[in-house]
Symmetry: C2
Subunit: 458 residues, 2 copies
């Protein structure tokens, strides 16, 4: 067999897309970040076919070419934990401790949620994420059929889970499973799914164990909040004699693939448990919200040392105000240096590794996305560095992490399809969505009924 099909009478089959003239962010054998100048990325069938030189790609026939001179091509960002529909509640409950935020605002408001609210919130969220260079997100919410439909339409990649509480009885867990099985692999494989128990403080031990059984039986991962803050860990120890992470372990959730959101209350003993997990463990860190609530931050250094993948996230816009994963990347670098009081730790290159391969591992997509490597899905973004705020460039990793901003992402590509080009969204009508959502807000945010979907006493 020859190495490649011989060219036909008309020459080689054209590539679907060639991005050329860029500097490409590449990963070395050891996972380290490097840069290749004057590069080209060749895409065929939604997959990265080659990362080559601009010169080599110059004569390559292609259905579409993107001139990316002055731009960096890098893997699309992955938002490892969010609640896309909560974008409808951006700014609704500010300057509050988490108990009041949940009990007086979010959980009362969520009794009003309609499928259309969820859909419009998810549309706005996806538009924001595409504009900010996010190509994949892990979502955890309710009425998730609407989120899945938005993802299918808009071209993003997502791992979706329908959240449940033990207060819903078995129906919650069953719905989460039914959703996960029905949508798994949809949208040409862009949609993956997870079981989504809310948290150890709202899902009891029996339900955690039942979830682990379902995960094992059906080959599904689990996406859960745990040890969100130190107070939750202390409350869990006081009431049940074990940390939230220990509750996951006892429930069998560290023997299946699990994505843990936040983990700012993870203890040293928890880190050891997570390091010994037989399943894949990822932790999603969303540092902006931890600052805003006055919490500690995720122990990224200890988790990384234990071999746990720490991915970047934003949480929902109702607490975080933003789905700006670029900011999460910068804040992870800054806050980790601050928390460890060590300016040498969490370098710009490490931050880029968390944003790319570590995040891909955290959401279970290692080897499929997170690197510009032949055979990976063609999820990539182009970042313009010609603005005055990103000049001059002494250290490209530092420029990307500490000087560039989400708005410098000019082009976003998923599975080889361009979702934003030169800052123009190609799959959303933002003014229409915003106008329809604005009209629905009075009904959505009404709290006069006095009900809530759950109570927080984390």
């Amino acid at each position: 067999m020859p190495d490649a099909a011989p060219p036909g009478p008309g020459g080689p089959e054209p590539a679907d897309l060639v991005v050329t003239g860029c500097t490409a962010l590449v990963h070395g054998e050891d996972g380290g970040i490097g840069f290749t100048e004057d590069a080209a990325v060749v895409v065929r069938g939604g997959v990265i076919d080659a990362v080559t030189s601009a010169a080599d790609a110059a004569g390559l026939p292609a259905a579409e070419r993107v001139d990316a001179r002055g731009q960096v091509a890098m893997p699309g960002l992955i938002n490892c934990h969010t609640h896309a529909p909560m974008t409808a509640l951006r700014g609704v409950a500010e300057e509050l401790p988490v108990e009041e935020w949940f009990n007086d605002w979010i959980w009362p408001i969520e009794t009003n949620l309609t499928e259309r609210d969820v859909e419009l919130g998810a549309m706005l969220a996806c538009a924001e994420m595409i504009r900010g260079g996010v190509t994949c997100f892990a979502d955890h919410y309710f009425l998730m059929d609407r989120v899945a439909a938005v993802v299918a339409d808009c071209g993003l990649r997502a791992d979706l889970g329908w959240a449940f509480f033990s207060s819903q009885g078995p129906a919650g867990r069953e719905r989460s499973l039914e959703f996960a099985l029905r949508w798994r692999g949809a949208a040409g494989g862009r949609i993956t799914t997870s079981l989504a128990p809310h948290a150890p403080y709202t899902v009891d031990d029996a339900d955690l164990a039942a979830t682990a059984d379902l995960a094992r039986d059906h080959g599904l991962p689990v996406h859960i909040h745990a040890a969100e803050n130190r107070e939750q860990t202390e409350a869990s120890l006081a009431r049940h004699g074990r940390t939230p992470v220990e509750a996951l372990r006892r429930g069998g959730l560290l023997d299946v693939d699990v994505l843990i959101a936040h983990g700012t209350g993870i203890t040293d003993d928890d880190v050891a448990l997570l390091g010994r997990a037989t399943g894949r463990v990822g932790v999603a860190t969303a540092p902006r919200g931890y600052l805003k609530f006055g919490w500690d931050t995720t122990p990224v250094r200890a988790l990384s040392a234990a071999g746990v993948a720490v991915g970047l996230a934003t949480d929902g816009a109702a607490s975080n105000n933003s789905l700006d994963v670029w900011e999460s990347m910068a804040l992870t670098a800054l806050v980790q240096k601050s928390a460890e009081r060590d300016p040498r730790w969490l370098t710009a290159r490490q931050a880029l590794a968390h944003a790319t391969t570590h995040s891909a591992r955290a959401v279970g997509l290692a080897g499929r996305v997170g690197a510009l490597t032949p055979g990976h899905r063609a999820d990539l973004i182009l970042v313009d560095l010609t603005g005055p705020h990103t000049q001059p460039v002494h250290d490209l990793a530092a420029t990307l992490v500490h000087s560039a901003r989400a708005a410098d992402v000019v082009t976003t590509i998923v599975d080889g399809r361009i979702l934003m080009r030169d800052r123009r969204l190609l799959t959303f009508d933002v003014p229409g969505i915003a106008a329809e959502l604005a009209a629905r807000l009075p009904a959505l945010t009404d709290r006069a009924h006095g009900r809530r979907i759950q109570s927080y006493d984390g």
Copy 2:
């Protein structure tokens, strides 16, 4: 005398500029932040003539009109402490403790500085600041005639000080004075000046006292680094038995107008001293860099309670990687909540107050800039909130501080002159500046000579 000149035969004299259809950020009697919808800002002679309704302004003749529907008009941001020319060194020395950053990189490189390097760095800095909605900055550096020339040309407002060390002998202080006197009030009043001793660890007590005398004799303010971090305060106590702020007081610098950069090492006793100062005291906080160096942050709550104006800043791009004051505003809110472990503190409205009136006080321009108030200089920016990341709006202050980004500033106006319109810079050719600077970088960053301009053992 009539209240206003009677309209001539052609009707009233046209306004120079009318910005109409915006939501205007206004300050109440108590200094609190409010918003007026469907507003118009009328500018005459470089001054805000009126903030009125869009309806009232509809028929007003104007030389220029800006349709600002969907945008917020607010006072331009003030960068209360930076080193504009150091933009040339953005990213040159990363992931380092401050001693190595100064001794091994910055101070060796600064022996190479030429006037053209300073000018190009300042140009890039001013371009970045205009693009980020900054209308005024307080600068502290060398070869400041070149910075003043850039400011005069590009249309920004600035308070400029030529830095000096005691190691330069009396010549350093004399040059700082000579510069301050020569440029004071230049560029139609857009340039104000300060004396600029570097810091209590590089300027001795005699020179601090001499600076205070010059400030008093010439009616000049003083801009100085002090108590940059806790280690400096501890070193000062160990060596001299007094904190850096106490050194300022003993030198008489709290009896003149003083702007203190950073102050993350300010103690409780220092706060009391600053609160009792007979001169105007401002403190500039640049929170990104403190996270990056692993320092504490400025004690904003205590300083504010003592009546000290805390303004927002970025420091230079060589440490901060960015002159993004919008980010400083968000980070001040976030980091203060985190440092105080109090989500109710440093609200979005307080952050906006720090960004506007408090910053104006800190740089000695209270009553002239920092509010959209008739009689103030017409330094304002327009912020577009139609992007998906700033929708919906439940709380406009939160949207501005926590969801909007510097890149949402579409128009920047100083003294009524438009410096950026619809994201297009009108007074800079960025590619030309970046290209010339790039060519000079090898000579600028050469450290083979082994010299440095100063030694850090703060």
